[in-house]
């Protein structure tokens, strides 16, 4: 048996040790982190391979220094936590490789590796923890490291850091209340032994409290608003790791625990989850359509994809749960990859606005190919992984439709909204790919070249994973990774999708296409610029991929909402801020600083106490 204490505490302890090393030894810190994350990857793989006869295995850790806290250190090694652990290990390792090249001295990120390692250790702990108090402690710590992994060097990024900390911290506080209620209702703090039906006021409040924590972490409507801002302002390695991969894994992990273990969903809960899922898919993708900043665009997609996972998990059927989790894994792969490619582009060009970019495919071929794979995958193009998990979600919804409840009767609505979201995703990724990689190269991008080995390696691995997870989904990936959800064999589903055969057909068609193209270019031809009446071709003539999407924002119906979204009407952070500051200024107005007023309060207070208590 492997000692899983290392998995949780080794990264945290080494992370703390790294605080002591000076910043000038960044490379050494990076290499040390690489060793640590490599070890944790190995441990998480061996944990995944480690199987036991029991469906749920509790594992008692023992703390040598403080035996008194042993009762808190119980790990829950079931299929779900093993799965999430495996991918935390994988992403942790890949992003460390990327960070070594990306986080250079110029970035002015202090103690990056310390917080990075603490994040990894705390995530392992949060996922494996069985005791809710142990869980919430590590979960809260993650909010802290998230805050520290964004450099707040100017007004915008420090405002984003503040917003992130407040939203995440608020959700953690609400989570504590939910845990308190669970403890009050069941007298137990062990995840594996709690099972409450979401009927009754208390249970519903507890359910909603936990849901808020999960939604904020994963970035679902209406608590998602930190994700796009964070994606835009944090360094690419942080946003690839945290909002795109790790926080999704954790947030949806918590959601899965809520839906599968801690609570039994009643029909209102299912309906609410499906509504939130659909709203998240559509609103976020609509926002993504009109973004011009490439990292912010990705940030909105990171929100939109969460809607699919919520939809899948809300269905509650084995197929739905497996689909939701598979989409979670897929999303973490391609969304993390997209952020890495965005980081590469930003590193080489220094630009983040789509308008300033273009025509990079020739100069950054590896990045381009990887980004293309990711973009196709997120848009749900077969045979990539994004397609297969969405396919499973659609099938899950159709299967769900045969059930009795209200939510089941509305299956068509959920299906149509999911499909619509998928097509809008494709539309916005057309903009993404063409805006950055296709079209004419801008003049200021003359010196751009491919990034170095350390930076393209992680994205290549992820792109290969996208293909493998798509092509071998049916026979290999889904049964081996998601077998614990009880998902039945692919052949038993309503729709059938012979994925390998389709892949071969697609491959053949691509090859045939290339051959035709190649035959067409065999004859030597003269190429010249487009004839535009003898004018010199100027930069303004190049088509801007952004322009088309501006028409969407200008549509009458949408314009209203976009305008209000611009003014932060739908941002729960600004709504809360407005309310709190309103009360604050009212109370400040009362505190005039005049002594006689204060004296009056004092005597009024005493008098009121006398009246209430003595009469």
């Amino acid at each position: 048996m492997i000692d899983f204490r290392f998995l949780i505490f080794m990264p945290i302890v080494i992370g703390i040790v790294l605080f002591i090393l000076p910043e000038s030894l960044k490379l050494i810190k990076g290499l040390l982190s690489l060793i640590v994350t490599g070890t944790t990857l190995y441990l998480s793989v061996s944990l995944f391979a480690f199987s036991s006869a029991e469906p749920t295995e509790l594992y008692q850790m023992s703390c040598v220094f403080l035996p008194a806290i042993n009762s808190f250190l119980i790990l829950n090694l079931d299929g779900l936590s093993k799965l999430i652990t495996l991918f935390i290990g994988l992403f942790g390792f890949l992003y460390t490789i990327y960070s070594i090249a990306y986080v250079t001295k110029k970035k002015k990120l202090f103690n990056y590796y310390s917080f990075f390692l603490i994040t990894i250790g705390a995530s392992f702990g949060a996922v494996l923890a069985d005791n809710l108090l142990f869980f919430v402690t590590l979960w809260g710590l993650l909010g802290l490291t998230l805050y520290k992994l964004i450099k707040s060097h100017d007004d915008q990024s420090s405002a984003t850091a503040k917003k992130t900390l407040i939203l995440i911290g608020a959700s953690d506080s609400i989570l504590i209340m939910g845990i308190g209620i669970i403890f009050r209702m069941t007298g137990s703090l062990s995840i594996s032994s709690v099972n409450i039906a979401t009927s009754g006021v208390l249970a519903s409040i507890a359910f909603l409290s936990l849901l808020v924590a999960s939604f904020t972490k994963a970035g679902a409507f209406p608590f998602h608003t930190w994700v796009p801002d964070y994606a835009q302002d944090a360094p690419a390695s942080s946003s690839a790791f945290l909002p795109a991969s790790l926080d999704k894994l954790l947030g949806i992990y918590l959601l899965a625990r809520i839906c599968l273990d801690i609570f039994e969903l009643t029909s209102w809960a299912t309906l609410m989850l499906l509504i939130i899922g659909s709203i998240t898919i559509i609103t976020a993708v609509m926002m993504a359509l009109v973004q011009h900043n490439l990292k912010k665009l990705l940030g909105y997609h990171a929100v939109s994809q969460v809607g699919y996972m919520i939809t899948g998990l809300a269905l509650g059927t084995p197929l739905g749960v497996a689909a939701g989790l598979f989409h979670l894994i897929n999303n973490a792969i391609y969304k993390g990859g997209l952020f890495l490619t965005a980081g590469n582009v930003e590193k080489r060009t220094g630009k983040e606005e789509l308008d300033d970019l273009g025509g990079l495919s020739k100069y950054m071929p590896l990045t381009f190919l990887a980004a293309l794979v990711f973009a196709l995958s997120i848009s749900g193009i077969p045979p990539l992984n994004g397609f297969y998990s969405k396919w499973m979600i659609y099938l899950g919804i159709i299967e769900f439709g045969s059930g009795p409840g209200i939510a089941n009767k509305l299956w068509m609505v959920w299906l149509i909204l999911s499909l619509l979201g998928s097509s809008l995703t494709l539309a916005s990724f057309v903009k993404f790919i063409s805006g950055i990689y296709l079209g004419r190269r801008k003049d200021h991008l003359q010196t751009v070249r491919e990034v170095n080995f350390l930076m393209w390696l992680p994205q290549t691995v992820l792109a290969l994973l996208c293909i493998i997870f798509g092509v071998f989904a049916a026979n290999w990936i889904v049964p081996s990774l998601f077998g614990f959800t009880g998902v039945s064999d692919a052949g038993a589903w309503i729709g059938e999708w012979p994925v390998q055969m389709v892949s071969i057909l697609i491959l053949i068609s691509i090859i045939v296409g290339f051959i035709i193209y190649w035959i067409g270019t065999l004859k030597t031809r003269r190429t010249c610029d487009s004839f535009i009446g003898g004018e010199q071709l100027q930069e303004e003539f190049s088509y801007s991929s952004v322009e088309f999407y501006k028409t969407i924002a200008a549509l009458k119906f949408f314009a209203f909402f976009y305008d209000k979204a611009q003014k932060k009407w739908f941002d729960i952070y600004y709504i809360g801020k407005g309310i709190v500051l309103g009360f604050s200024s009212l109370l400040s107005w009362c505190h005039s600083g005049i002594l006689s007023t204060y004296m009056t309060w004092m005597f009024a207070g005493i008098t009121i106490l006398f009246i209430i208590l003595l009469l």
């Binding site: 809260g140 707040s152 060097h153 420090s158 911290g169 608020a170 002594l595 007023t597 204060y598 004092m602």
Partner: protein, 508 residues
């Protein structure tokens, strides 16, 4: 060991006396002497906490009881007192160390340390007095020296603040004295354990006196609606003094006395428990709402003191409610644990935050958050320690504030006060919001042009802040059962077994 108890009063009083006596010839003497004194008292307190689990009583003058009537002045140290002694000594020590450099900017440094010593003697006296009149005397010593210390910079703002503080403080002292007078009239004794046994079971009278005492000590503890003096006084005082006032004084002469009186002296009553809980909740909410809108660094911190004291009152009040209605003792213990633990934690992180504010003011000369910015790169230690303190007060793990808040919230839910736990959560969120505001405007962002040249504060100030920041982290360990049993459990037992106070003192 009980013969050592008077040292808590003699040592700081003696230091104050020697300081003022030699101020002319040895102007630097006071600052080192007070550090030594506090170092000694800290060591003594830690020794007592670990090695003397029993209640210790010292009878001043050596008078023994006559026919079971205690005629000597009692100085008593039990579990609850030890917690207070510990925080007074620890915070006092670091604040005094911090002051060594900080007070260089004032002309008559000697007077500062004299007043500081007097304030310490007053606070120590209040927590160890077993006699309500002596408690009042020490209360006045502490209060009056704090009035003078608030005005120490003698600028317009400070004089205005101290004026309000004096008037309101004076009125509250008068109310307290009236209450004590009534108690003496009814019982014929001033010894607190004795009062507890003599007090008539006359409800109206008890409540009448209780209201007087709650109002009087509530003002010292900045409880709503008696909180109005605090933001002015705590923000205008020199920063080390603000740290002492917010970190220790309001607890030693406010909350401690309220806890002691209404648990151990008066018999527990549901009405009083409810009053404390409701006023605590209101302080918590109103304090934080006022704090979040402030732009003056120290004023923001001062309002947070009101709010955090609300948490302490909430924890204690819920425990009292459960005990007075005969509920589950375990939940009451949990709730009181939360309250007392938060009291200890607050004294550490709030003192640290005021020292941070002092350091920022020391280097930049401003308390306005809008005029700061980007100080993280210029003042790394101040920035890192204030980050830790901010996270502590906002209840983010792994810092101490998280554990005390989670205990209070869970205890409130266990006791079925769901609404109160909800308020505690909301207040915690707004606290986090206002401290992320501090971090953003003071330490993150672009460095202000004016501040490009500033350096980190001198070493003695940095050491104090670092030590307190480490304590913020280490105090989390108090939650672990084996450590909790040494520090917190004796104090909780004092409050759970309410009659034990009299029994251990006078055997009745």
């Amino acid at each position: 060991m009980s013969t050592l108890i008077p040292l808590y009063i003699i040592v700081p009083l003696g230091t104050a006396f020697i300081t003022v006596f030699f101020a002319k010839w040895l102007p630097g003497l006071g600052k080192y002497l007070i550090n030594l004194a506090l170092l000694f008292l800290t060591g003594l307190t830690i020794y007592l906490v670990i090695h003397e689990p029993q209640t210790m009583i010292y009878r001043v003058g050596g008078f023994t009881d006559v026919a079971n009537i205690p005629i000597a002045i009692f100085l008593m140290i039990d579990g609850l007192t030890k917690i207070l002694l510990l925080i007074i000594s620890l915070v006092g020590l670091f604040v005094a160390f911090y002051s060594i450099k900080y007070t260089k900017q004032y002309t008559c440094e000697g007077n500062f340390y004299t007043l500081f010593g007097l304030m310490l003697a007053g606070m120590y006296g209040v927590v160890i007095a077993g006699d309500i009149f002596n408690l009042y005397v020490f209360l006045e010593i502490a209060s009056i020296s704090s009035y003078a210390l608030v005005a120490f910079g003698i600028e317009k703002q400070q004089l205005e603040a101290t004026f309000k503080y004096q008037i309101l403080g004076g009125v509250s002292s008068l109310i307290i004295l009236t209450g004590i007078g009534f108690l003496y009239w009814a019982t014929g004794t001033l010894n607190m354990p004795d009062i507890a046994t003599q007090l008539p079971k006359h409800d109206t009278f008890n409540i009448f006196v209780s209201v007087l005492l709650i109002s009087g000590f509530g003002l010292k503890a900045a409880m709503f609606p008696f909180h109005s003096w605090l933001p002015d006084a705590h923000s205008s005082a020199p920063s080390p003094i603000s740290a002492m006032l917010s970190g220790v004084l309001i607890k030693a002469i406010g909350i401690y006395v309220i806890i002691r009186l209404f648990f151990n002296v008066f018999s527990l009553s549901y009405e009083i428990a409810m009053t404390i809980t409701v006023l605590g909740t209101l302080s918590m909410i109103i304090g934080v709402l006022l704090a979040v809108g402030q732009w003056d660094f120290k004023r923001l911190l001062a309002y947070h003191s009101i709010s955090q004291m609300g948490y302490v009152f909430l924890g204690i009040g819920i425990g009292m409610l459960i005990l007075s209605t005969g509920g589950d003792g375990k939940i009451a213990a949990l709730s009181i644990l939360g309250g007392l633990f938060h009291l200890m934690n607050h004294s550490i992180f709030k003192a640290l935050l005021f020292l941070n504010a002092g350091s920022v003011e020391y280097r930049t000369g401003t308390r306005n958050l809008r005029k700061m910015g980007g100080l993280a790169s210029r003042m790394p230690i101040t920035s890192a320690t204030s980050f830790i303190a901010s996270m502590s007060i906002s209840g983010i793990p792994p810092f101490n504030g998280f554990f005390s808040k989670i205990i209070i919230i869970i205890a409130a839910i266990q006791a079925r006060y769901y609404l109160l736990s909800f308020f505690a959560v909301i207040v915690s969120i707004i606290t986090l919001a206002s401290f992320s505001k501090v971090l953003k405007y003071a330490f993150a962002g672009k460095t202000h042009e004016k501040h490009n040249e500033i350096k980190e504060v001198p070493v003695s100030m940095s050491i104090s802040m670092t030590a307190l920041a480490l304590l913020c982290l280490l105090m989390s360990l108090l939650i672990i059962p084996s450590i909790r049993e040494v520090f917190l459990t004796p104090a909780i037992n004092v409050l759970l077994e309410t009659s034990q106070y009299s029994v251990s003192a006078i055997g009745i």
